[in-house]
Amino acid sequence: MDKIPDNRAWWLVLPVFLLVAFSALIPLMTVVNYSVQDIFGPGQAYYVGTEWFKEVLTDERLQASLIRQFAFSGAVLLIQIPLGIGVALMMPKSGIKGSLCLILVAIPLLIPWNVVGTIWQIFARGDIGLFGWAINEIGIDYNYTGDTVDAWLTVLLMDVWHWTPLVALLCYSGLRAIPEAFYQAAEIDRASKWAVFRYIQLPRLKSVLIIAVLLRFMDSFMIYIEPFVLTGGGPGSSTTFLSQTLTTMAIGQFDLGRAAAFSLIYFLIVLLISWLFFTAITHADKEK
């Protein structure tokens, strides 16, 4: 077939161009715009180059918050991924019991974030909350509003309660997709339970685990409402994570330049870590 040269064909690219512009570039450019200028008001903007970025990167408050954030996301992944797999493995394979289990497991996922925060704020209180009261009652001194470790554990526990079901559901669907023949072959080959998990289930869960790890990393790295409602970032700033620091900066102090530079760095970190996870997992057992 002859090709007809006609430059009007470029117009066909327009819808895609507009879509990408609106979905990614234009809103982001607003932030970029603020991150390189000091804006006092209409007509009072001064170009400052990378100054905000330098300031943000050397800010000790932000550094501390970033480290806390990494520690939190790391803990979330280390607990929720194995726990989610474990829950999925224990769930009944089919039938009414399976359906019932699915519903029960999924319930925490349906609760709005701020309600989750409120639930745990009350649930974990030493005086009127069942959980806090019970812990104190068995002789452990527990007070999430005053003690740093207790506050941390409570935030972590809340997140585990809220989001492990997601990992469990993803893994459950992955497990159900494994053909029965593999289990039969393993039974014939006299594989132990562990070997079945290690060589049949785990490799076949890989694709859902990539999704689970990425989702849980991104979500936990951006966590805001739940700790904000539960502890307000305290005691001190012990549970103040990145997005809360950012919000305080942008809304509380109206420090838009720094907040914009910080936002971009925040975004790049999420992007970078997600990419690292993805490449690490997908390349893990490629043939040499």
């Binding site: 023949a181 593999f182 039969q184 072959a185 039974e187 014939i188 080959d189 006299r190 594989a191 132990s192 070997a195 060589y199 049949i200 785990l202 490799p203 057992d285 043939e287």
Partner: protein, 366 residues
């Protein structure tokens, strides 16, 4: 190695079977002797795979017993029965290499590492995959994967039996023949009880010393390929074995003979004697196309039939003839010539004319 005995075995996949149609296996007694190479032959859906899975323990029979060397194993899981099974479609552990796949059953059995190495090497050589040992199993082609699946079945030396469930379905024809020979060699070399499920009679007879033909949930005949050919114990065996299958004609009793339409077929005296006592009205006669003779001269023993069709199959011809209201196939040499519509004289040699009552062969009483 073990002798595997199935005692009044029956199996239904439905929880409350209401009639014989609900059974995949009906009331079956069978013995697989120690060290034999057996084929289990039958059409799709006759219960072959069910029987295999019952032997290996993947399926619990709803009635009857499975005995290994006389010991009941119904309650034992496949791992405790120590049995190897190769499935119809390849199952490989795709995160492992070929070597790890083959070593897997041995590792699970706590075989020493040095022993695993030599054994895997040995099996890989037999299956001609020794150059693929370091490859990840997921990167193999379908027939390589099936070889690995088979290898995992063959690699264990101490198994009670190895069961093959149509293992060559996904393999291309040329390799199929080679692998079948391989299996036979392996059998001769290691002397392990092997049961090979197939719906292909050629596959069955090249692999097995003895073939069990299954039909409708029952073993209708258990014998050597020659026995199946020469004296089919059931009309289904006659029909299923041979190409084309046996000519089977429904007949009714009459004075001193059997009859279909206006044609009277003379039987041997003992067959007539047995027929007299028989209450059943389901009487059939059968004769293989290979055993019908076409003779030039008309006599008392011949039947006049009309040639309907002659198919030349290269080394022989299949002649379709009409005898009374029935058509029959006759196998003839290449030299045979007859125009369609011409009359020929058929001769049914007495020793090859079989009599069936209720689908089962009527045998001479000793």
């Amino acid at each position: 190695m073990a002798e595997i005995q199935l005692k009044s075995l029956a199996h239904s996949y439905s929880a409350s079977p209401s009639g014989p149609d609900d059974y995949a296996i009906r009331q079956l007694d069978h013995v697989w002797h120690k060290g034999g190479a057996y084929a289990l032959l039958g059409p799709s859906g006759c219960g072959k795979s069910t029987m295999l899975n019952i032997i290996s323990g993947l399926v619990q029979p709803s009635e009857g017993e499975v005995l290994f060397d006389g010991k009941r194993v119904n309650e034992l899981s496949p791992r405790d029965r120590n049995i190897a099974q190769v499935f119809q479609f390849p199952v490989v552990y795709d995160s492992m290499t070929v070597y790890e796949n083959l070593a897997f059953p041995l590792k699970n059995n706590k075989v020493p590492a040095a022993k695993i190495k030599t054994r895997v090497q040995e099996i890989a050589e037999v299956l001609e995959i020794e150059d693929k040992l370091d490859k990840k199993a997921r990167n193999l082609t379908a027939d390589e994967k099936q070889k690995v699946s088979m290898g995992r079945g063959l690699v264990r030396e101490d198994v009670s039996a190895i069961l093959f469930d149509e293992p060559l379905t996904v393999i291309d024809p040329q390799l199929k023949w080679k692998l079948r020979r391989k299996l036979k060699q392996i059998h001769e070399q290691f002397d392990i009880t092997m049961v090979y499920v197939t719906h292909d009679q050629l596959e069955a007879s090249t692999f097995a010393d003895k073939i069990a033909v299954m039909y409708d949930g029952q073993v209708v005949q258990f014998g050597t390929p020659t026995e199946l050919f020469e004296a089919p114990n059931h009309t289904f065996v006659g029909y299923f074995i041979g190409s084309p299958g046996m000519n089977i004609v429904e007949v009714e009793k009459c004075q001193g003979a059997v009859r279909f339409g206006s044609v009277e077929i003379r039987l041997a005296p003992w067959q007539l004697d047995r027929l007299v006592d028989m209450k059943s009205n389901n009487i059939k006669i059968g004769i293989r196309p290979e055993f019908i003779e076409i003779v030039p001269a008309k006599s008392d023993d011949t039947y006049e039939a009309e040639v309907r069709d002659v198919e030349d199959l290269g080394t022989y011809k299949i002649v379709t003839v009409q005898l009374g209201d029935q058509t029959m196939k006759v196998r003839q040499d290449e030299e045979f010539n007859a125009s369609i519509g011409s009359q020929v004289n058929l001769l049914f040699p007495g020793q090859w004319l079989m009599l069936y009552a209720d689908e089962y062969l009527v045998q001479e009483q000793q």
